[in-house]
């Protein structure tokens, strides 16, 4: 009896202990807290300060960050604010509960071009004007406007006198939100908003003639707003999602007028036998600059995009999953069209008599509509042990329903009416892709996969009707082994063109042996290899190699001009050592090489004899070598209450441009060839982030960043250097810009060196 009693007692105790244990299942906790991070920032820069900042705002001041999060058993909420009050500020919140999931954010991202830039233009929304008095001086031959000769370079442009430095920068403001409402266990409603606006200035070019171009800081004021709504149903067998989105791109500066630095009035001299009677423009105006007083260009047009899409996924018997999607959209654009030209010498009855199409536009607005369609279907099955079969089909189409626009008669550079234009053509695309793959996983840790892909791309307008790719691929992946991870892949593709049209090539004024590389026949080989060794639990060594080659000339024996081949190789070697949770150190080196070869013939169209003269052929070999190096040290509480993070990144690039061929030989013999120097850049950044925790809530921090860019680039024209003959653009790189060089007035924006240092002393408080 006593034994029975003891057994019963023991059973009750154990049962109660079990029940107690069951009742002690940890439950979600209610917690809240956050961080206030505030301090003082000090930045010094030598050289191109805007390039140093680029997408950041590193001005001196008081950077502040704030973070708050609350978690309850029923909902979570977090809010984050970074760089408060600066041009790169960001705010974001998340709310998550049983029925509601919300993400919303506001972000500003600057794009800083140059603070050294100068311009004689006064740009407002839609107009960039130049001083009329100076333009008149230039037109009358009393001053240099756009330098036309080395002598002009010594004198310099008269516009230097009114070109003042200004900050050339723009900013993108984005607001976004996604709200997901859970109606039932299986049904969600999803609403989205994404809207951005751009403001500020950006450099934009414009030409009046081959020898008369300008770069201006045009005012930009545009943006896009997208609204979406969707319904999603899901169960454990699958899901289905259907949605609609409306996007509208708004343009507040639909066109630009811009003054000609070479002329104050539209060129007009009667009596030229090459123009219709009563007309006064110069038929060579686009070559010699005798064109309009100002020009007008069209900016990105307002448009809308409406899309309806669905996607679904279903789990089938036999470890098989299928998914599919379909998306159909309409892109409408009906912006008002600007006139053929602003040139008063062309907008005359005498010219319209000779060019009747220029009397009025074929239509007042673009009246464009393009439809898109995308469909995908994928089936993956593991019905057979150790074998995975995957099939995927995808099609995409772009169908242009726009009526042709007749511009056979048009006005070039706002300077010269011509009949050499053409009709716009609807540009259609059909793209079909089929991929099938089989993978075998029967070998421990390993996956061996073979696959085949067929890709057919059809398009209009171009010199081919499209192309067909046949791709074979094989890959091997070894993963899950604690000592070794290995991934390797090889892919071979043959591309054949569909109905290559030599006549279409010749219609573009090109040699029949030219091929456009993005649609040309080619043979491609590509391989990648990644290995990671972990001989010790705290030591990892990794190596990666990838290499590829596209051979165009070899795939089409008739090709002589254009891009003939390109190849690239890149490899990296790195190591990481983390002996404890407190110490993590690592380093990596990487190297890339690129080589392209292209060929051309410097010729005028037939019957000019240069057209068939192979002695005018020239080649360009463009090589680039890039090096990377990274080292980092993380010491987290390795010293009392102190976190230290150090990181150093380095990359450099050396790009060469080697011309060759008989044309170069003849130019060299005539003393008219100077090789372009290599373009070099070297960027390095070191950061140290130290945080000392005084208590659990209070800490101090010190952040320091050093960044340096060295760059030598012939596209940047410097103000320093000899101002007497011979003037040379190919001088040593520096950070001061010259805005007047042969054939153009610019803002001076170009790659330029800088050295920047930023320090932040901060206090952070956790609550």
């Amino acid at each position: 009896m006593r034994n029975r009693l003891m057994i019963c007692t023991a059973a009750l105790v154990l049962a109660s202990a079990y029940l107690a244990g069951a009742q002690e299942t940890p439950q979600p906790e209610t917690t809240s807290g956050g961080t206030i991070d505030i301090g003082g920032r000090f930045t010094t820069t030598d050289g191109d300060e805007a390039r140093y900042e680029r997408y950041r705002d590193l001005r001196d001041g008081v950077p502040a960050n704030f973070f708050y999060k609350k978690i309850t058993p029923n909902w979570t909420f977090d809010f984050e604010a970074t760089n408060i009050g600066y041009r790169d500020q960001h705010y974001e919140l998340n709310l998550n509960s049983k029925r509601v999931k919300l993400n919303a954010f506001f972000d500003q991202t600057p794009l800083n071009y140059g603070y050294y830039t100068r311009t004689p233009y006064n740009c407002t929304a839609g107009n960039c004007s130049l001083d009329l008095g100076l333009r008149t001086q230039v037109e009358n031959g009393n001053a240099v406007g756009v330098p036309q000769s080395v002598g002009n370079l010594v004198t310099g442009s008269v516009y230097n006198s009114i070109a003042n430095p200004f900050d050339l920068q723009s900013r993108r403001d984005t607001i976004g939100a996604e709200l997901r409402l859970t109606a039932t266990n299986n049904l969600d409603f999803i609403f989205g908003l994404n809207s951005y606006s751009r403001s500020g200035n950006m450099p934009l070019g414009a030409g009046f003639a081959f020898n008369d171009a300008v770069e201006m800081p045009v005012v930009i004021d545009d943006g896009d707003t997208a609204l979406s709504a969707a319904v999603e149903w899901a169960s454990h067998q699958g899901m289905f999602h259907v949605g609609y989105e409306h996007s509208k791109f708004s343009q507040n500066v639909p066109s630009y007028t811009f003054d000609n630095p070479q002329r104050a009035t539209d060129y007009c001299v009667y009596g030229n036998p090459a123009v219709p009677p009563g007309a006064c423009y110069d038929p060579s105006g686009y070559v010699n600059g005798r064109g309009p007083a100002y020009g007008r260009m069209s900016m990105a047009p307002e448009n809308t995009l409406d899309t309806v899409d669905w996607m679904g996924m279903v789990k089938l018997p036999g470890k098989t999953t299928a998914n599919a999607s379909f998306n159909i959209g309409t892109n409408n654009q009906d912006a008002a069209l600007i006139p053929w030209t602003t040139n008063s010498s062309i907008n005359t009855p005498a010219v319209w008599a000779a060019f009747p199409e220029l009397a009025e536009l074929p239509r007042d607005s673009a009246q464009m509509r393009v439809n898109f369609a995308l469909g995908t279907a994928t089936v993956r099955s593991r019905a057979i042990k150790d074998v995975t079969l995957t099939g995927r089909y995808r099609f995409y189409s772009r169908n242009d329903f726009t009526r042709e626009f007749d511009a056979i008669e048009y006005v070039r550079f706002d300077a010269v009416p011509e009949e050499t234009g053409g009709n716009s053509e609807p540009f259609n695309i059909n793209h079909n892709t089929l991929d099938v793959d089989a993978a075998y996983t029967g070998i421990p840790y390993s996956t061996i996969r073979v696959g085949y892909g067929y890709d057919e791309y059809e398009h209009g307008v171009r010199t081919t009707q499209g192309w067909q790719d046949n791709t074979a691929r094989i890959s091997y992946d070894l993963i899950g082994n604690q000592y070794l991870t290995l991934r390797a892949k090889y892919e071979h593709t043959n591309r054949d063109t569909i109905n290559l049209s030599i006549a279409a090539i010749e219609e573009t004024g090109s040699q029949p042996a030219l091929r456009f590389y993005d649609e040309a026949a080619r043979t491609s080989n590509r391989g990648t290899f990644i290995v990671e060794l972990n001989p010790l639990a705290d030591l990892g060594v990794n190596f990666s190699l990838s290499t590829g080659k596209n051979d165009y000339a070899g795939a089409d024996a008739a090709q002589e001009f254009g891009l003939l081949d390109d190849k690239n190789t890149s490899w990296t070697l790195g190591a990481n050592y983390a002996p404890s949770g407190k110490v993590n150190v690592g380093a990596e080196y990487g190297r890339e090489t690129y080589t392209t070869v292209q060929e051309s013939r410097n010729a005028n169209p037939a019957p000019d004899p240069s057209w068939i003269d192979p002695l005018r052929n020239w080649t360009l070999t463009n090589d680039e070598t890039v090096n990377y190096f990274n080292v980092y040290v993380d010491l987290i509480r390795a010293f009392t209450n102190t976190d230290i993070r150090f990181n150093y990144d380095y990359t450099d690039s050396d790009q060469s441009f080697v011309h060759g061929g008989p044309r170069i030989a003849s130019l060299t013999a005539a003393g008219q060839f100077i090789p372009l120097p290599n373009v070099l850049n070297k960027w390095q950044q070191a950061t140290v982030d130290v945080r000392y925790h005084v208590s659990k809530k209070l800490g101090f921090g010190l952040f320091y960043m050093y960044e340096k860019l060295d760059v030598e680039d012939y596209t940047a024209i410097n103000s320093a250097g000899p101002q007497t003959l011979p003037v040379s653009a190919l001088g040593a790189q520096n950070d001061t810009a010259r805005i007047d060089w042969l054939g153009a007035i610019t803002t001076g924006y170009a790659p330029r060196p800088y050295k920047g240092q930023t320090g932040i002393i901060r206090v952070f408080y956790e609550f």
């Binding site: 909902w75 599919a324 995308l374 469909g375 994928t378 626009f405 070039r412 030219l514």
Partner: protein
């Protein structure tokens, strides 16, 4: 060239196939609520007695408690998720609710009683594909729709390759502190490009890999998370390039990456080669385009304006397309 109507027909065919698949799935799973769970989720296939309960698990694995008190699974408010407090959802229908640890690791009573590690689902011993099957039994909505057969799935990159429930270091349970750090394990050469002279604001923290890519699978190419092709993806943010334009530049309309490398480049505007040589890869064989643009012209001729600064696009500034009637040559 196929017509738009044909495209619609193909879409309809895909829809029909999808409906068919749903019908097959529906037929194969047309069961009572109590049987419904037997389809794909191993944990609820087992009888009640096979489960030990979360508290039992934590008797030994007390270092894992954070996963169910603080991790995202602890605050999964939707019915059907592991720690949702709604109970075992009306006889298991579509749920792992309140299963706790065993929602993912499977019934653990036998393991708890014997200590035999082989009697519990240990993710470290699973292949990525097997591990992903467990995760995708819940995570198959919206951004996970296209996981099956996606590029990563095909290369044995599974959920646990990038995510960790118990030892995450970054947001969204990532195994590394940042996306860049994580993705660079395989895509090192791509990540290195973000350090180049011309780059997107990735290293400044304004964008990250998933700003453009849905690593879980996508309908678009290159795992792009929106749009219908490369260009239609890029114009989601660069809507000023969307057009359509009266005068298109076909390579632009077809694929932005013909000229730009979005991951970074040594050339201004992230061009894949320096202008004018990039333009001369196609425009090379008559009139002014095939001129040999070199140092002599740069120093002595007005043709220098096609070499320095903006090069070709100082005049052909509408290189992405022009809406001006006289814009055929992309000059206006």
């Amino acid at each position: 060239m196929i017509s738009f109507r044909t495209s619609l027909a193909r879409g309809g065919l895909i829809a029909a196939l999808a409906v068919g698949c749903l019908a097959v799935a529906g037929a194969s799973t047309a069961t009572t609520p109590g049987q419904e769970a037997a389809v794909s989720t191993a944990p609820v296939q087992a009888p009640h007695g096979a489960y030990a309960g979360t508290a039992t698990c934590l008797n030994c694995h007390d270092d894992r408690v954070d996963a169910i008190t603080k991790g995202p699974h602890s605050h999964a408010f939707k019915p059907g998720n592991p720690m949702a407090p709604q109970g075992c959802q009306a006889c298991h229908a579509d749920t792992k609710a309140a299963l706790g640890c065993e929602a993912c690791h499977g019934p653990g009573k036998a393991h708890a009683e014997s200590g035999d590690k082989s009697l519990i689902r240990n993710f470290e011993s699973l292949t990525p594909t097997q591990a992903s099957e467990t995760c995708s039994s819940c995570h198959f909505r919206t951004e996970h729709t296209f996981w099956a057969g996606s590029q990563h799935d095909s290369r044995s990159v599974g959920c646990t390759t990038c995510h960790s429930i118990h030892a995450a270091e970054g947001p969204r349970q990532l195994k590394k502190a940042t996306e860049t750090e994580l993705c660079s394990q395989c895509h090192r050469t791509i990540v290195n490009k973000t350090l180049k002279f011309a780059h997107m604001p990735v290293r400044e923290g304004k964008l990250q890999c998933t700003s453009c890519h849905n690593v879980h699978g996508a309908a678009n190419v290159k795992l792009l998370n929106a749009g219908t092709d490369v260009t239609q993806f890029c114009v989601k943010c660069h809507a000023d390039k969307r057009g359509p334009y009266l005068w298109e530049h076909p390579p632009v309309t077809e694929d932005c990456t013909t000229c730009h490398d979005p991951h970074g480049s040594s050339n201004e505007r992230m061009l894949v080669a320096k202008t004018p040589f990039l333009c001369q890869r196609c425009h090379v064989t008559s009139r002014h385009p095939p001129t040999v643009y070199e140092g002599y012209l740069l120093n002595n001729s007005t043709n220098a304006n096609k070499i320095y600064g903006r090069s070709c696009v100082i005049c052909h500034q509408q290189v992405h397309g022009s809406n001006a009637p006289s814009g055929k040559a992309l000059l206006r």
